[in-house]
Symmetry: C2
Subunit: 344 residues, 2 copies
Amino acid sequence: MSKTKFNVAVVGATGAVGEQIIGLLEKRDFPVDKLKLLSSARSAGTVLNFKGQEITVEEAGPDSFEGIDIALFSAGGDVSKELAPHAVRHGAVCIDNTNAFRMDPTAPLVVPEVNADQIDKHQGIIANPNCSTIQMVAALKPLYDSYGISRIIVSTYQAVSGAGAKAINEMLRQSKEVLEGRDANPDILPVGSLPVKHQIAFNAIPQIDKFQDNGYTLEEMKMVRETKKIFGDEDIAVTATCVRIPVIYGHSESVYVELKNDYELEEVKQLLAESPGITLVDDPAAQAYPLATDAAGKNDVFVGRVRRDLGNARGLNLWIVSDNLLKGAAWNAVQIAEIIAAKA
Amino acid sequence: MSKTKFNVAVVGATGAVGEQIIGLLEKRDFPVDKLKLLSSARSAGTVLNFKGQEITVEEAGPDSFEGIDIALFSAGGDVSKELAPHAVRHGAVCIDNTNAFRMDPTAPLVVPEVNADQIDKHQGIIANPNCSTIQMVAALKPLYDSYGISRIIVSTYQAVSGAGAKAINEMLRQSKEVLEGRDANPDILPVGSLPVKHQIAFNAIPQIDKFQDNGYTLEEMKMVRETKKIFGDEDIAVTATCVRIPVIYGHSESVYVELKNDYELEEVKQLLAESPGITLVDDPAAQAYPLATDAAGKNDVFVGRVRRDLGNARGLNLWIVSDNLLKGAAWNAVQIAEIIAAKA
Ligand SMILES: NC(=O)c1ccc[n+]([C@@H]2O[C@H](COP(=O)([O-])OP(=O)(O)OC[C@H]3O[C@@H](n4cnc5c(N)ncnc54)[C@H](OP(=O)(O)O)[C@@H]3O)[C@@H](O)[C@H]2O)c1
Ligand SMILES: NC(=O)c1ccc[n+]([C@@H]2O[C@H](COP(=O)([O-])OP(=O)(O)OC[C@H]3O[C@@H](n4cnc5c(N)ncnc54)[C@H](OP(=O)(O)O)[C@@H]3O)[C@@H](O)[C@H]2O)c1
């Protein structure tokens, strides 16, 4: 592009992720020339603020991308599938937060801490992994490099904001209903487009996204497939159980890894502490470990409860927490945009 | 004893577990002759109802157990350590819900579905395992018998009622504070007797009970040690991550097991469905799986999300949910009492 300022489009600007993207572009002082904010017809006309400037949200369409250099998509997979090719046609680089292109062999699937080198290989579209995958692979990267990883067994504790702005409202409304002694009325979760709804307030729902034929949910299979693609290693065995819990912001993960080589626990902690984008919070004596409420609003991935498996010398348990809207979506996308901008 | 009716003492009668024990003795029509309700001096004098009869709670002391046949303890480990020997001295059989005697080699550690045969070996005290252990081993027993189990990797999603009546109130109070836009004031959790407190409302706290020198919490080590003792098998490798989440009643567990032999998935489901005390809830097409809100108030252990590890032919994932105050404490204890009564 050979530019110093960029015309940027945010598709899904009125959503939970879009709001964070706009905030980060401002906070990080991203070199924006013009900012175009796009949504569906529902929110078109909404006025949003960017660096003190009022910008009117427009309805996204095939011709929204004329003159756009970088388009950040977070408006659902169908919108990305339909509109990203048009953005590419207009010469934009698309950074897509949805599931639409993640397993597409022509689209790099990027977590900058892990595989920033893949960014250059894009053919117009760079995929942002699923939120629960991003924080896990970011935390595991230093261990992968130092010891190798043979298997991962992960159980997640995922925030409702991962299901969008409406799911946050539903969880807060239900919490109020239960506290007032009324019935909680489930309306959206676990999956908006499916018929059965379950109470999320004061509950734990072991379903995120639709079930696949093998009994896993799509969210679980995303963690399996995306982890292999990001590490470029089909041999890592991954199994996942993904669970929604009544937390607003911040996914937590209980991760068991088996390394290929022996390790020293103190060395593992030091590697984590020294890795960019990772904050080690691990002091049992002080009852210090990562918490969703502490991670909310921060870009880093927080790791703690680092301890040996007592049965397997190469087994290791970790507790990994990050803000799903930031590192899990908006921040990872803006990080990629910053790398692209720096090279342009 | 050669009796048909029994004098029963409930120590900790005013607590979360004690309340459920009294309720179950009534509901199950346990052959009670006299019921003695005991607490600390704080609640002595409280009047509780049992089968329409008013019973005044008395302060527990060394001489509270004269004439008592069966004493059910749930007043904390220190109280059990101090008073259970006095109850035994008076000829009572003690069923202890606390951690005091679980690893004592003279005390059987019993989950009736798994090792009811151990009950007869008691020398006055029978220990009830930790709530998170009970539901896990009850669900794994049919798999242990049919295939053998080599390892267990478990991550828990535990309800606040597991920390007693005060922790429930704290979580509800904090939820209200957050919903009203105020700060949540942590006062009890994660561990009442430790200095650092964390918000539990809309959060996930990876600490239940105190940290041990190996970096595991006592709750996690209970799951490791008790599982081996209950199965009578020191070779099962167990590793655990125990997490408190904002649920009122019902612990959920994401359990990964490695079996010693190959299995057919449908056979595993059938075994679970046919096992006493277990309800299989596993129909992905109908979005049916165990939920804490559904398990609350029920005695059974609910199992679902039964699926193959995609990387290991002998690996299996399960989602196990049960009411921690019932099967996890009161019901398991009353089950043991029923077996003792039937044999007396
Ligand atoms: N939340 C997360 O943690 C997370 C993490 C990673 C990836 N993602 C992905 O990001 C996407 C959005 O997530 P979210 O949480 O921000 O959802 P959200 O809060 O529901 O927001 C959805 C956004 O998409 C827009 N949109 C919907 N349909 C559209 C259409 N036909 N054309 C143009 N815009 C449309 C909405 O505009 P209106 O206001 O007009 O409806 C809104 O701006 C999803 O694909 C999700 O999988 C989310
Ligand atoms: N909650 C669970 O899921 C669960 C599961 C398995 C095992 N347990 C175990 O059961 C025990 C009680 O748990 P909980 O949840 O019922 O706690 P809780 O709600 O705090 O109740 C504690 C009970 O113990 C009594 N007590 C306290 N100190 C006493 C003393 N010095 N002498 C006599 N009674 C005393 C209390 O009486 P006052 O009213 O006078 O204070 C109250 O009845 C704990 O050891 C816990 O580890 C709990």
